[in-house]
Amino acid sequence: MILFLAYSAVLLSFASGGVAIAHLFKPEVNKQLVFWLLGASGLTAILAGLGELIYPEIRLDTLSLGLPWIPWHVHFDSLSAFFFLIIGIAVFAVSFYAPHYTHHEQKNAENFAVLSLFTGLFIAGMMLVLLADDAFMFMIAWELMSVASYFLVAFQHENAANRRAAFLYLLMAEVGALLIILAFGVVASFADGFTFDALRASTISTTWMSIAFVLALMGFGMKAGLVPIHVWLPEAHPVAPSHISGLMSGVMLKVALYGLIRFCFDLLPEVHWQWGVVLLIVGTISALSGILYAMMQQNLKRLLAYSSVENIGIIVMVLGLSMIFLANDQQELAALGLLAALFHAFNHALFKNLLFLGAGMIHHQTHELNIDMLGGLIKRMPKTSVIFLIGCMSISSLPLFNGFVSEWLAFQTALQVDVLDNGVLRSLIPVSAAALALTAALAAACFVKVFGLIFLGVPRSRHAEKAKEIQDKGMHAAPAMLAGLCFFFGIFPSSILHLIDNVSKQLLGSTLPAKDVLSFISIAPVSPEQASYTAPLILIGAVCAAGISFWLLHRNSETTMRIAPTWDCGFGGLTHRMQYTSSAFTMPLRRIFATAFLIDEKVEKTMRENTKLNVADVRYTLHIQDHSWVRVYQPIERGVNVVAKQVGRIQTGNIRTYLGYSLATLILLLWVVSL
């Protein structure tokens, strides 16, 4: 039954793409059906995921698709179901959002068909990745996901920059896929067959296992956006339509994490603490540099893409902790780490999708994504601003919201370091916990900037001044639903943590240290004496304290507020250009963390009448570049070019040489055959 639901989720999203094609050829087919089918696909995915998580059981199946002698093996266990749930929620939300958001594309039947077809294929691909039980099907589904999303990134291909971003994405996705194939290949060469069962049973040496781990980390890390192989993210996310960026950032990166978790925790016969250290370090670097770069961005969607790098970094870091504990035979703490990582993945899917949808709403109403061109939208788009504020609060991990709970769990995991024997680990892990604290604080600063500059203050451009609230209900409903979930899981986190606990039971064979620590209202991951967090009581306390202070201050009604012009220090004429901008807001941090960026800052002054004091005109330019472009990519690019030139030498353009090559090849092949 549950497997049937999972299949129908896949088929419904295929059908959604199919209907779009049908609409192209037969315009009488209702195009709203595309979104209805997408919503149904999301809903069945949620049901399938929840069903499996509530009644955990490994469900297996074989489909006679693909090559005749290799049928597709399908499995659906708690880990798959958990990520199915993430996909389901995101797709369900998007199905409400897309009808109005894409109304411009709907006017052109071809554009609409392309967008909907590849959206359907993309979602189906992601779901099939989760269902795959052999490396063969896994890779086919993986490619379906990658290629379909390439077309979505390239959707607005009129712009040369978009084509370039899409090509970069495709290139990195394919290189990543190659590495994943190699990783599977390494393990499979020690096993008989490509099914996951065979891979699990492989007798592989530690060296080869480590090689497979590194290949998988690079392959999946390229998709997930780990530093320094993250550069496609900030290029590709801003150019895709917003609901697609939401799906890519909120969900597709999670599918890459699923691959990493499946490969390391499930398929490889054992884990080593050294791998955990690698994950910990890579995760910490990604988290810190992700948020530092996010802070410096002016384009909202680019900023959100970098913030995804940060959050993926946090998740990988906690996964590393879990792996370290697992390798040290601390099963229960490993379960805690996995719980924290998966819960953060879930939360990130919720609030990042919400923020991307919010960015889409802002773009839809103002045609502007540059933070420095917005401002004052809280009065013009009040509903959007509240929804967006909840997203900002969740991602800044403030108490009462879901982001805080997963970060709290991550800290609790890191603080259990005393059980380890290794001195290096015992000093490394607290340092990474402090880096996590720095990341969280910087994230708060970053999202103060985002919300403050977009929604508060005075409008910085005519577009922002003329902005109006969106009238479509569905476009509000989707992010509002996600915001509601952010708040709900912030207050009652145990409702989902119970379900995630089943994942670690199946994957690691152990659950949280004490079974009764997840009561309905409070969570205490290790034991109530060590740490507990009771969000509902805090909420009640907050409401009481706020209510009492409000009541006390509003008893005498004489002191109503007086509205007056803003104090301009007596000079007169405050303009919107006097407000802090994005680069002004982040200037202190840019200066403090100057070594983390490649900063190109220029101030050009033109003097009036050749004097040295009378400034006529000042031009300020600031360009901030990612280290990894210059340090990693450009050397590789140059290397590839040099090699290509060398290889190009054999192409002389002379027909006789080519005939000679053919002859040589023929002789070589004949020799090989005769062996």
């Binding site: 991990s397 800290f411 607290p430 403050g452 706020a546 002191t559 507020m561 104090w567 807001f585």
Partner: protein
């Protein structure tokens, strides 16, 4: 019964916070050969502000008017979590020290947004500086706190304090480092000299004051009260974590009274030390603050490492 004591303790905490601020001012004035205002002056100021009519800029949104309540509420919640007179109260099981840091972050988030709400350069300047300093101070604080929580193997403040009490008087090098780190962070986070000057209104130097420049009337009263609460929170945190002796472990009337006397003594001592420090040093430039906080972080790290290397049982 325990809940009642917890609520009363929180109410007392909130009520006493302006008094501590007044006492701090008293110490500083006496050290600088000035005549001090009455110790009750902060209460009079707050009362005066609540009676005044608030003036709101025409560019302000609802966020500007709700922020004072949010900030105040966050500080009251923080006050309910920190063991003040007695340990082992039910409120301290609600939230641990990481949540406490979260409450501070919550208040700061909204204060910084309110600074940006009016759209003046001052507000933005204050917000930008506050977020910069706090994002450096938060890891330093957590580093110091983690040293403590790893020693006590709990992040619950009550549990950690009980652990220190049960250990008796032991000199731990890690605690010395953590104490100094936390004191440096407390100075930065409560906006005292040498990081920020609460009495200045000069655009080049102000941080906290720049953010709240547009507030008036009851809104200003709440924000002032909240920053007095924050000051006292750090004071109680430092004195009760590192010197918990005297805190009430049972809920008898005599134990609670004794606990109140002892914490008052500790806070007075801390205020005198802080006043001397503030009188002796000058405010530093804004871009020296990262070195100061980096030093605090380093102390926290040293505390952590000395715990792992010297004190761990393994």
């Amino acid at each position: 019964m325990n809940w009642l004591i917890a609520i009363l303790q929180t109410a007392l905490f909130v009520a006493l916070a302006p008094f501590l601020a007044g006492f701090m001012k008293f110490c500083k004035c006496r050290l600088q050969n000035r005549r001090a205002p009455s110790l009750l002056q902060p209460y009079r100021d707050l009362l005066k502000l609540t009676r005044k009519q608030p003036v709101i800029s025409e560019d302000a949104s609802w966020l500007f008017c709700t922020t004072p309540y949010i900030v105040f509420t966050a500080m009251v919640l923080a006050a309910s979590v920190v063991p003040f007179i007695a340990v082992d109260l039910p409120t301290s099981a609600e939230a641990d020290v990481i949540v406490l840091v979260g409450f501070f972050a919550f208040a700061r988030f909204f204060l910084a947004l309110a600074g940006l709400d009016i759209g003046t350069a001052f507000g933005g300047m204050g917000s930008s500086r506050e977020m910069t300093i706090s994002s450096l101070a938060e890891p330093a604080m957590l580093m110091a706190v983690f040293t403590l929580t790893m020693t006590a193997s709990t992040t619950n403040l009550s549990g950690a304090i009980e652990h220190v009490l049960n250990e008796g008087v032991v000199l731990r090098p890690s605690f010395v480092f953590a104490l100094f780190a936390l004191m440096l962070v407390a100075v930065a986070e409560t906006g005292r000299i040498p990081v920020d000057n609460p009495t200045t209104h000069l655009e080049l130097t102000m941080i906290h004051e720049a953010m709240i420049l547009e507030y008036s009337g009851r809104h200003l009263a709440l924000i002032e009260w909240a920053s007095q609460l924050k000051f006292m929170l750090y004071g109680v945190l430092i004195s009760n974590i590192f010197f918990p002796w005297g805190i009430a472990e049972s809920f008898g009337l005599s134990a609670l009274g004794y606990g109140l006397l002892v914490i008052a003594g500790k806070l007075i001592l801390l205020c005198v030390v802080l006043a001397i420090a503030e009188t002796a040093v000058a405010k530093m430039r804004l871009f020296r603050v990262q070195e100061y906080l980096g030093f605090a972080y380093l102390l926290g790290l040293l505390g952590m490492l000395s715990h792992i290397i010297l004190e761990s049982t393994r």
